[in-house]
């Protein structure tokens, strides 16, 4: 990659050797990042590449493990959001940080209320907010209740809020992910206006076309490291994808195995979000026994919603789902599990396990009725539970002192296997897994992939969703790509192609 060192010499922010280490993982490693004054600085990388971490460090939401941050070539102590604001750095986070019950003006001045002798000057706030919104050409009345606005409009309020604090650097973390076409146009006008006023913008996005249209220069992160930077004028989309994905693609042991008849057939599955946009947009596909499907998509592509709709955890989902020839779309969760579908959810801690329970108790939770004694008032049989859970521990090679140990005593990878084991005890025909290796270290990841292959060999169809490209291709027979709720590509293993997958995952953009 041609690293042009002859960039604009005036960097408004510079980092030197910046690292952020969490227990077990380094989110950011030795990054020298430069933000050029008055430009739109694009930051790009796969999920987990460290973009958000870097931005949190600049905005004071997190403190670096080592390294330093320079603002205007002077070392800046950024320990919290307020000190970042003093240095003129403002951020709009991916998740909205607004109060739905307050008015737009109250939101803009939340934490920085305009007061005289301790009393809020409401009229003044409304007036100032009106001026600010007019300057940004945002057509919203400051007295509207925030909760009454569309998500996109709320995002614009968030931008106004950041700008109310006289900032010189504005960080936008995937600002367009929730915006409609017109709102994106408004946003781009605002960005152009900010540039004219001399404000520097750091812009994080997954939408490559958008990046090409709005950015001045680009920085690419991969696995916590800065791997490339250049002017947008010098590069093209294939350059970005290559920098993001890297050339050294990890290969996992993959054995072709026999694939059986069709077990899952989905037709026109659709799910609307509360804001009226489809989270799952009329998706149709079919999966065969023993087949492994990797669903790849960016954040918000609808992967999780798709899997939850299949399980029945999304009551508003519409469409036809056929499991082994039986229609299951009208069944509640427990009936679908009985019919042979199971989900290993995305958030192990929140959705997958009961922290207060032991390994055995967690594992048998989905299949308790299998372990009751018939002639003893429905008491649970300890011996059968023990047998079943010990069997799973052996089969999945779970490292645990005993099945009666608390589940919280396990490592992330082994916890995940317990959750998988719980699903297996329901004897599923189709096993759904959402981000099966999230928060698991690299060695244990391979272990989880092996487990997936193992299950596929035994005839279970495995459908897993992931936001990591390598993972999507690791052990799958086919990759499904999702973008904005739509199934945009289906690829056979022999035809796997990173660039095509990334392109298919890029949501349609308003511009270009």
């Amino acid at each position: 990659m041609s690293e042009s060192r002859t960039m604009n010499p005036v960097n408004v922010i510079e980092t030197r050797g910046l690292s952020k280490v969490y227990p077990g993982t380094a989110a950011l490693l030795d990054v020298d990042y430069k933000v050029r004054r008055g430009k739109v600085n694009v930051l790009i990388g796969e999920n987990g590449a460290g973009k958000s971490t870097l931005m949190k460090l600049l905005a004071g939401a997190e403190v670096p493990t080592s390294g330093e941050i320079l603002v205007d070539e002077k070392i800046a102590q950024i320990s919290d959001v307020r000190s970042a604001e003093r240095h003129g750095i403002g951020i709009i986070f991916q998740e909205l940080n607004l109060f739905p019950e307050m008015t737009v003006a109250e939101n803009i001045f939340a934490g920085n209320e305009l007061t005289s002798s301790g009393v809020i000057r409401r009229k003044d706030e409304d007036h100032q907010a009106r001026i600010l919104l007019a300057r940004l050409q945002i057509p919203i009345d400051p007295r509207t209740r925030l909760g009454d606005l569309y998500v996109g409009q709320q995002q614009l309020v968030e931008i106004a809020k950041a700008l109310s604090k006289h900032i010189k650097v504005l960080i936008m973390d995937e600002p367009t992910s929730a915006l409609s076409k017109t709102e994106v146009e408004i946003l781009f006008k605002i960005i152009a206006q900010l540039k004219e006023e001399g404000v520097t913008v750091i812009y994080i996005s997954h939408r490559l076309e958008e990046v090409m249209a709005i950015g001045d220069c680009i920085t690419v992160l991969r696995n916590g490291r800065l791997v490339a930077e250049d002017d947008i004028a010098n590069i093209d989309i294939p350059w970005i994808i290559e920098a993001m994905v890297g050339s050294s693609k990890k290969r996992f042991a993959f054995e072709q195995h026999a694939i059986g008849p069709e077990v899952l057939k989905v037709k026109d599955l659709a799910l609307k979000r509360p804001n009226g946009i489809y989270a799952v947009d009329h998706v149709s596909f079919s999966v065969r026994a023993g087949e492994v499907i990797g669903i790849y998509g960016l954040m918000g592509a609808g992967r999780t919603e798709l899997l939850e709709s299949l399980l029945g955890a999304q009551p508003l989902a519409l469409g036809e789902i056929e499991l082994a020839g039986k229609a299951i779309e009208d069944l509640p969760i427990h009936k679908r599990i009985e019919a042979g579908i199971a989900l290993v959810p995305e958030d192990r801690q929140k959705q997958g396990m009961v922290q207060l329970m032991s390994i055995l108790e967690n594992m048998t939770l989905s299949s308790l009725s299998k372990f009751t004694r018939r002639f003893s008032f429905g008491a649970l049989r300890r011996d059968k539970q023990l047998e079943a859970s010990t069997d799973i521990v052996k089969r999945l090679a779970i490292k645990a002192a005993s099945v009666d140990a608390p589940i919280t005593s396990l490592s992330g990878g082994n916890m995940q296997k317990v959750v998988i084991g719980k699903a297996l005890l329901t004897s599923p025909k189709v096993l759904l897994m959402d981000e099966p290796t999230r928060g698991i270290d690299v060695g244990a990841k391979e272990d989880v992939y092996k487990t997936i292959s193992l299950l596929a060999h035994s005839g279970i169809a495995v459908v897993y969703a992931t936001s990591e490209l390598d993972e999507a291709m690791a052990v799958s027979n086919r990759v499904f790509v999702m973008a904005s709720g739509k199934l945009t590509a289906i690829m056979e293993r022999s035809l796997f192609d990173s660039e095509r997958i990334v392109r298919a995952s890029t949501p349609a953009t308003a511009v270009v």
Binding site: L311, A313, P332, I333, H334, R336, I337, E338, L343, P345, K350, Q351, G352, M353, V354, Q355, L356, M357, E361, T364, L365, S366, L368, S369, F371, T372, F377, G378, A379, L380, P406, T408, S409, K422, T426
Partner: protein, 360 residues
């Protein structure tokens, strides 16, 4: 766990390991003692009061105290299951009131069917009152599951509704003289409150049997496991295919059923149904559950602990009365004991997490 960056790795680990081991042992002993705290508290109370009040251990006093214990204990048994799911039931005191009133009404007035008036024998009366308690519990459960009302609010509302209904039964009046009429074949209701089998009074039998059955359900059946799972992590329970709404409906019905039994027992003991019976009983029941080590967030606790907690709270009350401690001080002391119990529980939790981190 390991410290790769420490500058003197040759000395530090040995020293650290020794410290860690003794710290672990200390934490482990402390946790085991703290786990038994409710028993320790019970023994301490009994010893202190038997020294302070002469008649404390007399047969007569034991009988009176057993009466009080059973009332709190039976309520707390039902309450435990509710709290284990992460809910709360504030309506039990009012259910106590209305179940007594229902019994009084059935015994004295009977049910009018056209020109006939039907009287039930005490068994029938008991059955109907228990069913009434379960139905009120079902209303709680319906509000909480189907209509998504927060348990605190749903049962607070029902606290007022049911108490009002209890007062309406006889326009605020009581039903006195529930001895029954031999001609109608409905005598013998008294047995439920004052009868004895094998030397033990009926309420004690009821408490023991209810506790045994509930402990069996909680510890040994899928239903019990599901109750704990919902309190531990409702979303994970839902994703595991557990019908959380059904389980919740059950616990509120069961709590209502337990409260109805208490209402019957008190009414049978006094031979009078009073519409205000059971006021603030819910607070004692909750206190007993908390004293017994059940977490208000749900997922952790035992029915047995609650029964012992009920013993502590009601023996503490009776003992203080016998020692002539003023009403006002009694309240202060009771309150402090409850708060202290929760503080100790937090301490135990912290020690336990420390123990885990020391073993890791």
């Amino acid at each position: 766990m390991s410290t790769p960056n420490s500058s003197n790795p040759s000395i530090q680990p040995v020293h650290g390991k020794h410290n860690r081991q003794s710290a672990y042992v200390a934490a482990r002993i402390a946790v085991s003692v703290l786990k038994l705290r409710i028993f320790i508290a019970l023994f301490a109370i009994i010893i202190v009061f038997s020294l302070a009040a002469e008649n404390f251990l007399s047969a007569g006093n034991m009988l009176i105290m057993a009466k009080h214990v059973t009332i709190v204990a039976i309520l707390s048994i039902g309450m435990t299951l509710v709290i284990l799911t992460g809910g709360i039931d504030l309506s039990v005191g009012s259910i106590v009131g209305i179940s007594g009133m229902a019994a009084g009404y059935l015994l004295l007035e009977g049910v009018k069917l056209g020109h006939y008036v039907v009287f039930f024998n005490p068994w029938g009366v008991t059955l109907i009152a228990c069913a009434l308690g379960a139905v009120i519990g079902a209303v709680n459960g319906y509000l909480i599951t189907a209509l998504n009302v927060a348990p605190f609010i749903a049962t607070l509302g029902m606290l007022y509704v049911v108490r009002g209904a209890a007062l309406l039964v006889n326009n605020g009046g009581t039903f006195a003289d529930l001895g029954g009429n031999p001609a109608l074949g409905n005598t013998g209701f008294e047995f439920l409150g004052n009868g004895t089998i094998l030397g033990l009074s009926m309420p004690v039998w009821i408490m023991v049997i209810l506790a045994a059955v509930t402990i069996f359900i909680a510890k040994r059946t899928p239903l019990g496991r599901r109750i704990y799972a919902i309190g531990g992590n409702e979303q994970a329970a839902r994703f595991s295919g557990i019908r959380t709404n059904r389980v919740k409906l059950f616990v509120y019905m069961f709590s209502g059923f337990c409260a109805a039994i208490v209402g019957l027992v008190i009414t049978a003991q006094l031979q009078t149904a009073h519409p205000l019976t059971g006021q603030t009983f819910e607070l004692n029941a909750i206190a007993a559950v908390v004293l017994g080590g059940t977490a208000l967030m749900g997922g952790r606790g035992t029915v047995f602990g609650s029964v012992v907690g009920a013993c502590v709270i009601s023996i503490l009350g009776d003992g203080m009365v016998m020692c002539g401690i003023s009403d006002f001080w009694q309240m202060v002391i009771k309150g402090l004991v409850i708060i202290f119990a929760v503080v100790i529980d937090q301490l135990q939790q912290r020690l336990q997490t420390r123990m885990v981190s020391l073993t890791a």
